[in-house]
């Protein structure tokens, strides 16, 4: 009787165990709007690369970055010295 061939172990890559779930994490199903394009009219007559392309994306990101920057405090002008 022929010897039974040795069973080969399947080669399964070892995976690290996932971290535990965050405790008390309530479901988040936030709704998001596309940042661009805005309306079909906006796209009309223009090349899609202008409307949806990297130029528009760069403009949007620059605008957001500008909004995120803190505004310098507005100080009142110094009062003139009292007349002697």
């Amino acid at each position: 009787m022929p010897a039974e061939p040795e069973k080969q172990q399947p080669k399964i890559p070892r995976r690290r165990l996932p971290a535990k779930p965050k405790e008390n994490d309530s479901p988040d199903m936030t709704e998001y709007e596309p940042i661009f394009p805005v309306t079909p009219e906006e796209r009309k007559g223009q090349s899609p690369s202008h409307i949806w392309g990297p130029i528009r994306l760069a403009e949007q990101r620059a605008a957001r970055a500008k909004l995120a920057q803190p505004q310098p405090p507005t100080e009142p002008p110094p009062e003139p010295p009292p007349a002697t």
Binding site: K20, K22, E23, S26, T30, Y32, W52
Partner: protein
Amino acid sequence: MEPVIVHHFLVCRRATSDFSQPDNPYSLHNVVFQLSPEAGEAYPLDGIDLWVFVRFEGEDEHEFWVDVVRVASDDEYEVEEITTYGPLIVPFGHAPRTVIRAWYLRGVPFPIAGVYEFRLRQGSEIIAVETIRLEE
């Protein structure tokens, strides 16, 4: 600090949550691989409401974006940026923890038929990609 590790990143037509099942609150409906215009619709499709489902782990708080791009050419792997969603803020906590999220992407535009990628991006790094097909 450990980098964020993505376990799952999927696109689906609808997601629901069940607050009575706090351990596994999310259910996904119609996980998307292929979409076709409905009767009477034609390209450009001005907006299809979709959900993205993410299970990932990390620590501290991170900001993510979902970019939608069209793969314009398979040969050169050229992509056209279609739109972007975000910022999606996730507070993981002080130790590495797994967090599950379902985010509603309203009105995803698909200008023409083709292959589209949904890219989960952290800063300038793309940490997960899901690909779907828009049929003629």
